[in-house]
Amino acid sequence: MSTDLLGLLVAIPLATAIASVAVVRHRHRQRVLGLVSLGSMLALSLGWLLDVRDGDVLVSQMGGWPAPFGITIVFDSLSGLLLCAGLVVAIGCYVHAFSVLDPETERRYFHPLVQLLLVGVNQCFLTGDLFNLFVGFELMLMASYGLLVLGHSRRQLGQAYKYLLLNLIASTVFVVSAGLVYGMFGTLNLADLAAIVDARVVSGEGLPPGFVGVSVLLLFVFGAKGAFFPLWFWLPDTYHTCPIPVAALFSGLLTKVGVYAVARTYPLVFAAGDARDVVTPLLLMSAAATMLLGVLGAVSQDRVRRILAVHVISQVGYMVFGLSLMTTAGLAGALYYMVQHMIVKSSLFLCCGVMERHTGTDDLGRLGGLYRRDRFLGVAFFVAAMSLVGLPPLSGFFGKLILVREGWNDRWWLSLVALVTGLLTLVSMLKVWSKGFWSAPAPAGERTTDVLAVGSMRGAYTGIGLLVAAAVFVGLAAEPIYDIALQAGEQLTDPTAYIEAVNPRALFAAGGAGGGG
């Protein structure tokens, strides 16, 4: 099935970004433009997601060039779910930003940068070839560098370089690996690569000697973007310094794109043959270390922002756990976990922002009595925190249940690590809850700011409400969403439908030619 309109998901935010720059003096016009763009993208993705629910794969060949030659855009269950979740997160953070960003920062390119970030993220989710995945990464990163130093305070400038340089180096490695893949197979189209690799493994011809190396190099690249175990050090400092709506947006989108890239390319291409024996143990160990060390880091922190930032790492571990199983249910579990985590984590960051506005600090030692002061915030934070921990009716529970059950037979030790991590997550979230919300208010002298007028924070509360409602929805509608995730998992473990939809060898079909370029 093919549709030529898929490119809209990249074109709309790009056009909006340009239009926002044109009206950069008027922040209300920029807001309206941005909301129209985000809303229309969400509507389009939801519509297409319903189309692909039964296992269809929507494909759009840019400019009419057939697959291995042109740019292919693919919309299947995997990209559809993540696009929708990403856009929900973006809308929540965007509305929240209206009332918390200071007007000058907002006017100076917050809106175009958010749209550009979405150009990159959407392209990553949609692209059907390795090189455009690189281009999508770069677009996303350029926008994220800009958002990271938004307002450019001294602290932001000092901390930005860690993130910037690590990503620059990772991107360079990505280009080299893409070049190596092209040198080996003569194509960069993922469906084409999958077909060639599969044919070579089945026929016993074997894969080129450098294949395992490239596979590990790419794992380094995606691991750096996704904050997997040894490559996570940039994350806490980065999220600590930037404005809250930006931190929330990053926590929902950036690391997940790294995880998505692994989920897309490894079952399809890079975990074939010998590479599987190398990549799987790496992923398994990385998953265990990311989960456990991440949560231990979170338990030891005393500042709400750092607790949440380090939790992002720990939660990425769960997703890697699902990916490392490389089974249908494991991949589906990882995907469901990603969807719920994107929404829950962003709403927690937004709550943390309002806590800071109330008290002027995020230091747990100086917080207190917030529940009495702001019931809505207390309830929203509690629901989101319990979703993160995984209390039964909420979304985190289903995500963890699927993963632990799937891992129990083969990798029981990893499932145990996941359960212990869940317990420690509960400890750290209860710490925030009891010290920040439940305890007696801090001594009056410690309060640095007055109680906020509710009117000026309308956007902030709307954003939080939207995301918490979405999180509850993901928990209540766990079955239909998991069905789509399962569909995606099946398509990843058996890519026949994907390859047929992209049809990379259509032009050669008559001559029967195949194999490497």
Binding site: R303, D362, S456
Partner: protein, 130 residues
């Protein structure tokens, strides 16, 4: 030809790794840019060698030579160069801004700029809002 390219890439990457490990942000930035060039050269090698086994050069397509080097990696490099260029511009701007704000570009001193007891930045102090 491929050997020459391989040696070039090795030298460039060595120099850039040396630069990236320095404590001065200017050198680190230069190192990262060089690394990008090294990566592009590595992709050029994927086009295949323009020197035929007999020592003759391949005919360029404009002269109607039928036996061409693969042009696709060069298209990839063009994209990579443009992206690299944009990143370079951004990074240099950020360096200038940082130098103006903090009057240092030393990594250790920049790390000191961040006193751990300080609170997180508020997104525009509430007092300033209207």
């Amino acid at each position: 030809m491929t050997t020459v390219l391989a040696v070039c890439v090795a030298v460039i990457v060595t120099v850039s790794v040396y630069l990236v490990t320095s404590r001065e942000l200017k050198s680190i930035a230069m190192g990262v840019f060089l690394l990008g060039h090294g990566a592009n050269l590595a992709i050029v090698a994927m086009s295949g060698s323009p020197v035929l086994p007999g020592g003759l050069l391949r005919q360029p397509p404009i002269l109607g030579g039928g036996d061409l080097v693969d042009p696709l990696p060069q298209a990839l490099i063009l994209t990579a160069i443009v992206i690299n260029f944009a990143v370079m511009g951004f990074l240099l701007t950020l360096l200038i801004l940082t130098a103006r704000r903090t009057s240092t570009l030393n990594v250790d001193e920049l790390a000191l700029e961040d006193p751990p007891s300080d609170g997180p930045v508020l997104d525009g102090e509430p007092g300033r809002r209207r």
